[in-house]
């Protein structure tokens, strides 16, 4: 490594750790947020969804049906009645999420060998209620059928995410997204701070601070005063080391290296330790993961550095970045299947490393995919890394030039 990178690298590392805001985004959020988030979904599935059993004529077989539904792990019968109105009232009060209705002739029809009917009314405020109720009732219906041996049997195999858990499905995607979003926030915060200081300096005592600011000096930071309420104070005399500033490009490399170092550590923690702590599927091969995450981190870092040049002030980055997590998660094609994302939005999603990072990581982690299985995503991330690097390089040269005049 050339020594011209080492200096800006160390300076930037120092600056990150001096800035509490940057520490929050680049360290605290990656460390704590995944734990909080995973804790939310830790139960993975909804159990014992409350339901009311309505029997017009309470009788043996109908009771047996409800008893079996109650015994299933998915549903709990909280009340039995013969009145539909009473059942609906319980649903309205939120004490039940579904009504299982067994008509008057239920037991008789079963006894006579005719087809009997069961009606299931579901509260649709959560699709998981519906899923639990339908599964429990379907299973009990099949289980109580006294029918001849099936002519053809079938079995369904959950090949991946075998528990069909909500956390196992969503958390891996969220973890990868957190990497990108925290880098965007951390980088933007520091760049916005630079712009705040420049405004503060250029807007005031021009004579006290004649030397132009190069990118190298911006990256210094620690000799700048905190802004406080005093826009009118000139900055304190500068640190002697400022005099030997590095070129904008060397600075870019040094800063990127500092982000890479920090993000590598937090990413390793998020993608390896967090899933382990919460017993999520982990089929990833270590080397595959390492090879895949390198271009992802680079693409995220250089995208963040490119975007950060647009951040007008320190706090503005939060107004610009935080909300994007929600649409980016949906665009990644994990919850809403990628094959069903309209073409326009699919093209938009290609701009963001998270799209490829999430899909690649989910397949490596949850499906045990190899690098050749995810080569499309892998290649896309390298292309993004290069393109965003070139943009960041151009932007830093432009900005460097602007402040040298």
């Amino acid at each position: 490594m050339s020594p011209t990178i080492i200096l800006p690298f160390l300076r930037h590392l120092h600056r990150i750790f001096r800035d509490e805001g940057a520490v929050i985004f680049l360290l605290l959020v990656p460390l704590a947020y995944p734990l909080l988030y995973t804790y939310l979904y830790n139960n993975e599935v909804v159990r014992e969804v409350p339901a009311v059993g309505v029997m017009e004529h309470p009788s043996g077989t109908a009771r047996e049906y409800l008893r079996r539904v109650d015994a299933s792990p998915d549903v709990m019968i909280v009340w039995e009645t013969s009145s539909m109105a009473e059942a609906k009232e319980l649903m309205r009060q939120g004490k039940a999420r579904g009504i299982i209705y067994l008509p008057a002739d239920f037991t008789r029809r079963i006894g006579r060998g005719e087809q009997a009917h069961v009606s299931l009314l579901c509260d649709m405020s959560g699709l998981l209620y519906y899923k639990a109720l339908v599964i429990a009732c379907t299973d009990v219906s099949l289980e109580m059928e006294v029918k001849a041996a099936p002519l053809m049997e079938y079995k369904s195999i959950a090949a991946y995410n075998p528990s069909e858990g909500f956390a196992s499905f969503l958390i891996p995607a969220v973890l990868v997204l957190i990497v990108q979003q925290t880098l965007l926030l951390g980088t933007g915060l520091l760049a916005g701070t630079d712009r705040d200081r420049k405004r503060q300096i250029s807007g005031t005592d021009n004579t006290a601070y004649k030397e132009p600011l190069s990118k190298g000096e911006e990256a210094q930071g620690w000799d700048m005063p905190s802004v406080k309420t005093s826009r009118h104070k000139a900055p304190s005399p500068h640190n002697p080391s400022v005099t030997r500033s590095s070129s904008p490009v060397a600075n870019l490399h040094g800063q990127a290296l500092a982000y890479l170092l920090i993000a590598s550590l937090t990413t390793a923690y998020m993608l390896m330790v967090v899933p382990h702590l919460f017993h999520l599927p982990q089929l990833a091969d270590g080397w595959t993961l390492l090879a895949f995450m390198l271009p992802y981190l680079l693409a995220c870092i250089f995208m963040a550095m490119s975007v950060s040049t647009l951040v007008p002030n320190r706090e503005a980055v939060m107004l610009m970045v935080v909300f994007t997590s929600v649409p980016l998660l949906f665009l990644s094609g994990i919850s809403w299947p990628g094959s069903s994302v309209p073409t326009v939005w699919r093209v938009v999603s290609w701009l963001f490393p998270s799209t490829f990072g999430i899909n690649g990581f989910v397949r490596i982690n949850s499906l045990g995919a190899s690098l050749s299985d995810v080569w499309v995503e892998y290649l896309a991330l390298w292309i993004q890394a290069i393109v965003y690097y070139l943009i960041a390089r151009k932007r830093c040269k432009v900005q460097g030039a602007k402040f040298k005049v």
């Binding site: 959560g126 053809m152 995810v374």
Partner: protein
């Protein structure tokens, strides 16, 4: 506020972008034509008919045929298919000789929604095929149709998903996702605008405009934002209920009230967060955390009853949770408004709570220094 285009952009663009994105992304209601594969090792007329039938289902698009499960698994790992249906060799022959063969299907639940929808199609196909074969045999033996029904399916289950009969995901998600994004932006912009006064050291000038009184100063500062945010909220309602005709069983007024209160409650929460964390950095971070956590903790995707008891208690502190309760009660289920009086009161409390800490806010703003 007008000086900085950033405000206007932060109030209008994120909600608008999300309205358009989410509703166009999920315009189909349910994902259709999900890529799936078939491993037909039988190659008989029965198996070919099954494959044809599977391809005709709404959610399934058969994009590949593989000679063995091994290749199908590879395709799944490459992300080309979300599942595959396997018909082993000799299936038809076994059906003919009454040996009840076993077919199987493999699903990738790492993509939970895609996996679940394919499961439904593949299971239905298996049931129907079994029934179809049975029906032919029974009719051949001269059975009546009511007997055929009873033999094939002794207990028929009819499901009635109330007010969302097609299990429309757009209805299910966007009614809360869209207000959620709006509430997140309200929180952030509120904290940002108060913090900016402290940061630029303009608190005294700002207060001087209302003779040092914090309440009129605050109202004056918030009102333009409030107006714009409420307009965005109403636009969201018009979009969902007017243009897309999503279920609105309880009439339009409860939702308009809930949307307006959600904006006010989020502003109130923003002010409270600033009182609690008078460093702009901490207040902004807290606002972001609150806003983003809302999406999970309000329980519209993963129900609150599936969360631990402490989280179920904690969700009362999130305005979006109360909004979600109003939406499910009123717009989705059409229950009377007094059922959710508690949620309206909670949102109003969030909006009014800053009144209690105005004094502290004034002191905080005048004495605290901006720290990065």
């Amino acid at each position: 506020m007008t000086r900085e285009p950033l405000y206007l952009m932060a109030i209008i663009l994120p909600p608008l972008l999300c309205y358009v994105l989410f509703t166009s992304l999920m315009a189909a209601g349910l994902p259709t034509r999900l890529p799936a594969a078939v491993v037909d090792m039988d190659g008989s007329s029965t198996s070919r008919a099954m494959v044809r039938n599977l391809g005709a289902f709404q959610h399934t698009d058969i994009v590949a045929h593989y000679p063995s499960a091994h290749e199908a698994f590879d395709a799944m790992r490459r992300g080309e298919v979300y599942g595959f249906y396997l018909i082993p060799q000799g299936t038809e022959a076994e059906v003919m000789t009454g040996k009840s063969p076993l077919v199987s299907f493999y699903l990738n639940y790492a993509y939970l929604i895609a996996g679940s929808l394919l499961y439904e199609d593949m299971r239905t196909l298996s049931e129907l095929t079994d029934a179809g074969i049975g029906m032919q045999l029974l009719y051949a033996h001269g059975a009546a149709s009511w007997q055929v029904e009873a033999v094939l399916q002794p207990i028929a289950l009819e499901t009635h998903p109330l007010h969302n009969p097609w299990l429309n995901y757009s209805v299910y998600l966007n009614n809360t996702l869209m207000p959620g994004v709006l509430a997140l932006m309200v929180l952030l912009v509120t904290v940002y605008s108060i913090g900016t006064e402290v940061k630029h050291g303009t608190v005294r000038q700002w207060l001087a405009m209302s003779n040092g009184h914090i309440l009129p100063a605050m109202v004056g500062k918030m009102l333009p934002q409030t107006t714009l945010f409420i307009l965005m909220a109403l636009l969201g309602n018009a979009w969902l209920y007017g243009y897309l005709h999503f279920p609105l069983e309880g009439g339009v007024w409860p939702m308009l009230m809930a949307s307006t209160l959600l904006v006010l409650a989020s502003q109130g929460l923003g002010v409270i967060l600033f009182c609690l964390f008078p460093w702009m950095r901490m207040a902004m971070s807290a606002a972001a955390l609150w806003g983003v956590m809302s999406f999970s903790i309000s329980g519209f995707s993963f129900p609150a009853m599936g969360m631990s008891a402490d989280l179920q208690a904690l969700n009362h502190l999130f305005p979006l949770r109360h909004y979600f309760l109003i939406y499910t009660h009123s717009a989705l289920n059409g229950y009377p408004i007094h059922d959710t009086a508690g949620a309206y009161v909670a949102l109003s409390l969030f909006a009014l709570l800053p009144l209690l800490c105005l004094k502290r806010l004034r002191r905080v703003m005048l004495t605290y220094k901006y720290m990065e």
